[in-house]
């Protein structure tokens, strides 16, 4: 039994923050996801979202076990630390003499299994663990939304400013080094911003939609756009549409939010592939 869409907007005050959190997450992750998806680093995003999820769960466990408060108990901070650690390990995979794919797989499994294991030891119910892992939360706390919004504005401004540098090191690192661009610094900043975006969004909407938004909108946009200059904003807009549309669809058809947002992102990707095929003919 479907709910009328008008009911959703009639109760806008209630749904505003979670629906906009989906849209803002999609916008931010759609943009940064272009570097993830088109550099064939899809599993980087998967590993980072899962380790961020583990960070969120560990924050709750540490707060309960050691009576931590304030910043030390901040799930966002723990998520940033864990996904940042994962990004740093991946950046240094050559020095660690571990294959990149093997490390990605290990980090992904550590994050996924770790979050469930830690969740089982924290005084929260299984629904809260699902919220972190699958983004099944219907509501978003105002302070979480504010944090997400601030992070998104700051990171998008930074990405807009440094986009030529980020594109150069992502798609032409050797040439960029030969032309004197600070390749090492740009790579670190890019990975750090991806880790921050993933962490804050995972804390707010859950790991599953975060993984979806950081890959699918970029793949869809790359099928529709002739250049990276247009792919970046189009991916951001598609991500925002998936985030908001997924939340709306979850309301209308009473679906789990994270899975619904992921399904909408998948639909947009499928549509983009169909459009591309049609244009080829």
């Amino acid at each position: 039994m479907a709910q009328p869409v008008s009911d959703f907007f009639a109760a806008w005050e209630l749904f505003r923050d979670p629906a906009l959190a989906g849209a803002v997450s999609g916008l931010l992750l759609g943009w940064v996801g272009v570097y993830v998806a088109l550099r064939r680093m899809v599993f980087l995003s998967a590993a980072m979202t899962q380790t961020a999820g583990l960070g969120v769960m560990l924050a709750q466990w540490a707060a309960a076990t050691f009576a931590l408060t304030g910043l030390l108990a901040s799930p966002t901070l723990w998520a940033v630390a864990f996904s940042g650690g994962a990004a740093a390990a991946l950046a240094g995979s050559e020095r660690l003499r571990i294959g990149r794919d093997q490390l990605l797989g290990g980090l992904y499994l550590m994050g996924a299994a770790g979050a469930i294991l830690v969740g089982s030891k924290v005084a929260i119910d299984a629904h809260d663990v699902e919220t972190v892992l699958f983004g099944s939360a219907v509501a978003v706390a105002p302070e979480d939304f504010q944090r997400l919004l601030t992070t998104a504005v700051l990171l998008l401004c930074l990405h807009l400013w440094l986009r030529r540098g980020f594109i150069a090191v992502s798609f032409d690192a050797e040439g960029a080094a030969a032309r004197g661009l600070p390749v090492g610094v740009l790579k670190v900043v890019l990975l750090a911003t991806i880790a921050l975006a993933v962490s804050v969004a995972t804390r707010t909407i859950g790991a599953l939609p975060v993984f979806a938004f950081s890959t699918l909108p970029a793949l869809a946009a790359s099928r529709l756009c002739p250049s990276l200059g247009t792919t970046l904003p189009v991916a951001a807009l598609l991500g925002a549409a998936a985030g908001f549309g997924g939340y709306l669809a979850a309301f209308v058809w009473e679906l789990p939010v994270g899975a619904s947002q992921t399904a909408v992102a998948l639909s947009l990707w499928a549509c983009a592939e169909l459009v591309r095929l049609a244009l080829r003919r």
Partner: protein, 250 residues
């Protein structure tokens, strides 16, 4: 083939030995490269050509001797294959524009008019103007190498280093790329170092050749006729006079 104009050399190698881990793998080389010259770097697989190229690019230091560069030296580099990820939407124009950023210029919010003009000029010089709107991933190998050449020209170099730019091309595409290289050389303001496996390419498109071999400790320079008449060349390539003549030696 015309001789290079006798201006100040772009590059001077003084008893320069290339190698790695502190060990020279090639004998010391004395060489000058001028504008308007194409020097073909030839040798067997694993002869040390790439090590020498990396040294000339400044990616590793010479083991002995020194490299003296002209004060106004600007280097353009064309790799063997230009990797552009197939999934990334990128027009040739954007690919060339990406090469206009140097140092911290990417911090400027917009690409300058001057950079766009350089892209247009480089595209015209490499005969890829009609390809500017095409996706890089959809170019043929030959078109991609010409676009790669245009990319190296964007920074208005006076020294072009070409690392086997035609190794993946058929004969027709190879000639198209090399005709552009010849045209650039004839312009007189660019010196070219061309790594090639093809004796035909060295014989027909280079003004001089440098034959190297790390196993036999060979580093010999001269015209193609001079080098190909030498004992080292015969030993390394095992060719008869007739076969060398077929390579287009002049």
């Amino acid at each position: 083939m015309s001789r290079a104009p006798q201006t100040a050399p772009l590059l001077t190698l003084e008893a320069m030995a290339a190698g790695y881990n502190g060990r020279a793998i090639l004998p010391p080389i004395d060489l000058q490269l001028h504008r308007g010259e194409t020097l073909a770097l030839i040798g067997r697989n694993g002869a040390g050509k790439s090590t020498l190229l990396r040294t000339l690019l400044g990616l590793q230091p010479p083991i002995t001797g020194r490299i003296i560069s002209a004060a106004d030296l600007r280097v353009g580099y064309v790799p063997q294959r230009s990797e552009v990820m197939a999934e990334a939407p990128m027009r040739v124009q954007d690919w060339l524009l990406l090469a206009t950023d140097e140092g911290r210029s990417f911090l400027q919010p917009f690409v300058s008019r001057e950079a766009r003009d350089r892209v247009a000029a480089a595209a015209e010089r490499a005969h890829v103007t009609e390809l500017l709107g095409h996706q890089v991933s959809q170019l043929s190998e030959g078109q991609r190498q010409r676009a790669s050449l245009a990319r190296a020209l964007v920074s208005t170099p006076n020294l072009l280093l070409l690392d086997e730019p035609t190794s993946a091309l058929d004969r027709v595409a190879e000639e198209l790329v090399l005709s552009v290289v010849d045209e650039i050389r004839r312009g007189g303001d660019v010196g070219i170092i061309l790594i090639t496996h093809s004796l035909h390419v060295a014989g027909t498109h280079a003004t001089r050749v440098l034959l190297v071999d790390k196993d036999d400790k060979v580093a010999e320079t001269g015209s193609f006729e001079e080098v190909s008449a030498g004992a080292n060349f015969r030993r390394l390539y095992g060719l008869s006079h007739a076969a060398v003549a077929d390579c287009g030696g002049h």
